[in-house]
């Protein structure tokens, strides 16, 4: 796939995600389930050109989507939509979560389209299987945390709605079930994040001769892990459940987002090249 075709295909995905976001919001505002279904379809169909563009680029540039803002953020957008589809496949009643997810996915993908799209070559330091494992688990952990955050939002929505909105909220799975599912996604994301950090440490030792240097990205990844550790600890030892746990799942996500996307932009770091180019 040429770069031109890739960009055209990617814009198709952006358009479908935008349409999906609009349909979800309209579906919620006007309480039309058909619009919500249409939003889910638009998001699902949008994943196809998105996957095709990422796959085509992978073949063309010879590496996965982990070099440069465009590749990295676009792949996180894909993981966001994938998380939504995973949740709605298990619990169709949670389709309404698209109201939160699809605008995020659209903004991420749209934002990535504004970045330079020239393919960056794999440098000697990046040529490692540990990098592949590191990146794969970063994306998986992000997907799991986004899913946990979305479930947290759904829980709070179901919990707080009164009047006519409450009738809509009652269509969701029971609160206890959403709460447990939030815990599961958060716990799995915590495992994935731990593996990501461990794989990164091993890779750093192979590439630079040190497993940890308190580089800002390393530090913020550790902070993300610690914050989620605190949230899980609070649930398992202090009995944080339900509303409090939902709030924690929502509040923790910005930290992981900052670690993955914000830190390379804010800090000067040898690590930042993956997002800002080198």
């Amino acid at each position: 796939m040429s770069e031109y075709v890739e960009i055209v295909v990617m814009w198709a995905a952006v358009t479908l995600y935008a349409a999906s976001a609009v349909l979800f919001v309209l579906g919620l505002v006007f309480r039309r389930p058909a619009l919500i279904t249409a939003g889910l379809w638009a998001g699902s169909i949008g994943m196809l050109p998105h996957l095709a563009a990422i796959g085509g680029r992978w073949i063309r540039v010879g590496h996965g989507p982990y070099l440069g803002f465009y590749e990295v953020v676009s792949s996180y957008s894909l993981m966001t939509v994938a998380a939504l589809l995973l949740i709605t496949k298990r619990f169709p009643a949670l389709r309404i979560a698209g109201v939160v997810v699809m605008p995020i996915a659209f903004l991420l993908l749209g934002g990535s389209m504004l970045a330079p799209k020239a393919g960056l070559e794999i440098t000697a330091k990046l040529a490692s299987w540990w990098l592949t494992i590191h990146v794969a688990f970063a994306k998986l952990s992000y997907g799991a945390f986004v899913a946990a955050m979305v479930l947290g939002v759904v829980y709070l929505f179901r919990d707080r709605m009164t009047g006519r909105a409450a009738a809509l909220a009652k269509k969701f799975p029971p609160e206890a079930e959403i709460d447990d599912l939030t815990f599961r996604f958060l716990a799995v994301g915590f495992i994935f994040l731990g593996i990501m950090i461990a794989a990164g440490a091993i890779w750093a030792n192979e590439a630079w001769g040190r497993y940890w240097a308190w580089d800002p990205i390393e530090t913020w990844s550790l902070i993300s892990w610690l914050v989620y550790a605190a949230v899980l600890h609070a649930r398992l030892t202090l009995g944080w459940r339900d509303r409090r746990f939902a709030w924690a799942a929502v509040a923790a996500l910005p930290i992981v987002l900052f670690a993955l996307i914000g830190v390379p932009v804010v800090y000067n770091s040898i690590h930042g090249a993956y997002l800002t180019g080198y």
Binding site: K125, A127, Y211, D215, T219, L238
Partner: protein, 474 residues
């Protein structure tokens, strides 16, 4: 002491410590760290910012050796150790008590409101309960009136394993930092350099550094444009580790392909050019030779940064010499390669006040003061190797693996056990239950009732839905 232990046991304290370390490490990322960004740190010191003085006074520019951080980490390690100990005891108690019915449990079970009533005889009820347990993937041990079923017993040890691995990880990392050393050493192509402290240009070490090996590091060859697959590695040296005449290990060293030998881990940090010079006295006798390491420098007109040294005769200076290697090509570009016919640009300030500059090829000489000569014997590459001795790394990897395994066990294999008491009455068989479950799923009770209903339905037995008790959370 008791109070300290109570504090260490407190989940709130543990969470506060975790968040305290998070806030501390997050905040200090805003301060240029001396060890991580030495250039930025030096610029920051003279930036005139009003924050510089207080932050430096409290050592926040050396944040990870700061007592505040060390204290927080030590407190977290202690709290985790106490927590691990408690978890281990609880897990062992639950493991050993699996299936047994303590008097307290028996009386609790007897007094519990029935979960459901199976409208059939005792045998039918046993079959229904057995089927329900199977559908919940719980292993059953049935008695006449009591049935015990469990799932994920191995998961009991997940949490202790994870927490002990974390404690060990903190201890091993700390001990490793005390004894590890890491340094940069320049090794000229074709020459041997001893791995001793004095050979290192830069050496960072803990307070109790492990000893140096005294082995020789030799760059036996250099490949100028190495490619593996689609990846260009550029200039790659082949490094040998030798003990006397014995070659212990030899390999091309490039990123992600370090050379490991014994306790040493050797990486390529950078490379440059080396000019080997020999100083001859007025009688033509050699007064010593050395390798001058010349680094590439985009800002320099020659493309390399000069390397300077003094030539002395019994304490009196003969000359101050500066050596560089013009490395730009005809277009003025800097390919960062050894030129095809390399020459060294040598300039010397002589003791008699005159200045001499020459371009010397291999084997060429230039005069210094008092009849002394400077001879360039070779111009080649040198490899700047990063050498690390850190015994803790394989242990850290192993502990990360154990911690991950523990976490996976704890989260993905949650322990669940249930004691069911079946009492035959005129209305049917009353089913009472007490459950122990680590994850404390709030809907486990519903799942249990649902499984009983499903199993009864499949067996053609009716279930009364009027009596519902509560499963117990442990």
């Amino acid at each position: 002491m008791n109070r300290l232990m109570r504090l260490a046991r407190s989940p709130r304290v543990a969470i506060a410590l975790i968040l305290g370390i998070s806030v501390y490490t997050g905040a200090v990322t805003m301060v240029p760290q001396e060890s991580l960004f030495p250039v930025e740190h030096a610029q920051w010191l003279v930036s005139g910012s009003p924050f510089v003085r207080p932050l430096v006074a409290f050592g926040f520019d050396r944040a990870y050796t700061n007592p505040v951080f060390l204290l927080l980490a030590a407190a977290l390690a202690f709290s985790t150790a106490v927590c691990s100990w408690d978890r281990t005891r609880t897990s062992l108690r639950l493991w050993q008590g699996r299936g047994t019915v303590a008097p307290a449990l028996a009386s609790r079970l007897a007094s519990r409101t029935p979960l459901t009533t199976i409208l059939g005889d005792a045998q039918a009820a046993q079959d229904v309960v057995g089927e329900a347990m199977s559908s919940l993937r719980m292993r059953r041990r049935a008695g006449a009136t009591l049935t015990y079923a469990e799932r994920g017993a191995i998961g009991l040890f997940g949490s202790p394993l994870f927490h002990w691995a974390l404690v060990a990880l903190i201890v091993v990392v700390a001990l490793g930092q005390l004894t590890r050393w890491e340094g940069l050493i320049g090794v000229t192509q074709g020459a041997a350099t001893n791995e001793v402290a004095s050979s290192f240009g830069k050496l960072n070490q803990g307070p109790w550094p492990a000893p140096h090996t005294g082995w020789q590091l030799v760059v036996t060859g250099v490949e100028e444009d190495m490619e593996r697959g689609d990846v260009h590695y550029g200039v790659v040296p082949t490094v040998a580790v030798m003990s006397g005449q014995e070659v212990l290990a030899e390999a091309a060293v490039y990123p992600n392909n370090p050379l490991r030998e014994g306790p040493l881990l050797i990486h390529l940090s950078d490379y440059g050019l080396a000019v080997r010079v020999e100083v001859l006295d007025a009688e033509g006798r050699s007064q010593g030779s050395s390798s001058r390491l010349v680094d590439f420098d985009d800002a320099a007109s020659s493309g390399t940064r000069p390397s300077g040294f003094d030539v002395n005769d019994a304490g009196s200076k003969i000359a101050s010499v500066s050596v560089e290697v013009p490395a730009r090509d005809l277009d003025g570009m800097l390919p960062r390669l050894l030129p095809p016919d390399p020459v060294a640009a040598v300039s010397a300030d002589l003791s008699d006040g005159t200045k001499v500059s020459r371009r010397l090829g291999r084997g060429e000489e230039m005069p210094l003061a008092q009849g002394w000569q400077l001879k360039v014997t070779d111009i080649s590459y040198y490899a700047r190797l990063s050498v690390v001795r850190d015994w803790s790394v394989p242990w850290i990897y192993a502990l990360l693996l154990v911690a991950t395994a523990g976490l996976v066990l704890a989260i993905l294999v949650p322990y669940r056990a249930v004691w069911l008491r079946l009492d035959e009455t005129a209305d049917g068989v009353l089913v009472r239950a007490v459950a122990v479950q680590h994850r404390k799923d709030s809907y486990f009770q519903e799942a249990l009732v649902e499984a009983l209903k499903q199993a009864a339905g499949a067996a053609g037995v009716e279930v009364s839905e009027t009596a519902h008790g509560e499963g117990e959370r442990a």
